[in-house]
Amino acid sequence: MHAGRHGYTIPLISLAPPEPYALSQSLPLDGLASLLSVTSTTLQVERYVIRNGENVIHDVSELVLNDGKWSGNGMDFNIDSIDDDTGGWATGNDLAYLETHIAITGEGYFPDLVGASFYTVYWGPQWKTFYNDSRLKYADPPTIIQVAAHAKWIDGYPASLIDPSTDSDKSVVVVNPYFAPISVQIFLEGFEKPTRLKVPPQSGKRIALSSILESLGHSENSSWCGQVYVSGKNRAVVFYADHSLRDPSKITTLEHGDAYRGELTHEPVSLRVRRSIGDAVRA
């Protein structure tokens, strides 16, 4: 879908480390090399940690590929949390996020706009390690297919579990990396009324499902399991965090959502036959 000759790959969005975690990101260099049209070139890696419209950290570094061998300081990136009393994970407002850009400054090109996928790891000496599978800032293929099919952007998570007996809660984390404010609606299975969440430009917000359930009249002592949908006029980058109900800073996992898919369940038999013939000829 994104084939061509490109000097960059689509920027990736991850969550900045919530307090008290630190973040480590290492680019998968072998994977990156396999995406390039050449075996020697230079890349510029730019990382922005953005909070409330401000570039709090702007790191620019270089990677040099020389006959298949990498050098340079652009591979690794490590930061501590920038949450403070004014905002962050604890309050759910003004969440910071990390935006990673990779561009070619030398020879060659990327045949595909979608670059190497990689995780970011969140860790700490007294905390459980968890990971974040980064999201494309734009041109996300499932989103494009979804909007083509349904004329709506709908993200979601079908297996959302809130259970006081196992101290389980889940938060919807909405990152708006764009220049205009966005408003999303959060729908919970079994409840008619959605919850609205406005996210300022270049910022993020977190809202716990337990607090949404409480506002909808669900008993705080009973569990709930079901589908969550997040929808709005504009796409946002959405993550879902499983964490302690009593202490949201104890994060178990941070996962991307599952779009309400626009892919079809069936395909024409004639297309399937052509594809089989093509596969057989290529084999």
């Binding site: 061509g4 490109h6 480590s24 990101q25 290492s26 994977g31 690794d76 706009l113 990689f118 995780y119 970011t120 790891v121 860790w123 700490g124 007294q126 905390w127 459980k128 390690t129 968890f130 990971y131 734009y138 041109a139 989103t143 494009i144 083509a148 099919a149 349904h150 004329a151 709506k152 979601g156 998570y157 079908p158 297996a159 579990l161 196992t166 101290d167 389980s168 299975e189 399991c225 079901g226 589908q227 796409r235 499983d242 964490h243 302690s244 104890k250 178990t252 996992t253 599952d258 309400y260 898919r261 626009g262 892919e263 079809l264 369940t265 069936h266 395909e267 024409p268 004639s270 297309l271």
Partner: protein, 329 residues
Amino acid sequence: MSENLQENDGTLKQMDEVLCFSRLISYETFRNFVWANPRATFEEACKGTGVGSKCTACLLNAQEFYLECQKNRPDGFKGMQESNLPSFRFGKADLYRLIDKFSPKAPFLLKGVIPTFGGENIKTTLRIANSVFDPLGPKSPTFRLEIECRDHDGRILDEHDLVLPPYERFDLNVSDQLTGGAEGILTGSCRVKMSALKPGYRGSIRPHFTVETPCGATALHSQGGGKYKPNPMITRMTNAEESQCISLVNCEDVRADVSIRIHQKGKTIEAIEHSAAPFAASMVEIGTPAVRQACKDGAVFVELNSTARVRPHMVVRYGTPPRLSLDHM
């Protein structure tokens, strides 16, 4: 970038009037094309104007705008003259599209594999939801589900064959029957095959699973196929109370010999060899003293190579009873 951009026909546009920055095509040009060609599909409108053909970043905006233009087209719009319109040539792709339009349809067979975990204080539940987004209404059809649960040795424990209409969900405890495992956890796997009973959209049908302990829950989606060489995974271990393992499900009916290499800045810290029986589910501890020492200096990469297709997950356990998480590699 300057505030005024020159469109391809020489007229100047403000930045906020530009739809496609790579080709410098304005919203007005795209709108005029859609209005002048009311039967043009979105793809044809993009092809006719050049929108989205370079970096594709504008495609989502273009898609929304296309739908708006279709809705707001004024009656009797004349727009561009016929002679100015790009001509459509009927080629091979158009012929195939015509044949496909009238061809009977066959369902895709969607497959997913999940690892399952059990034992004291650990419960895995397979969750499949044919959910409906109410503002949209039901867009997904009824699906047929075929579910097969296996133990750590790959033996079949349980099978289910059912249909799941829109609005319904299916939750299945897949840990109660598990008997064997490693690293203190019972392991197994589930395979799910799904096919729609009539044409529609996939919606939210992808299988997910939750793993619960007394200290929390984690959820993850299934993945199909399995790989011989999964993507390398970054990790870091600085907490003495935490253990990290790789859960491996052998997706094939042959033995899988798996090589696990943990490295940092190109230097191998640990190399682990593991063998998995056909369809078996196992766990391999990677938090060796050497790996923990290396993590003090920075993150490490975990890489797998396998002789058969495997589905690996990174499993992190913290504390007792554990908070447990899984992430696909």
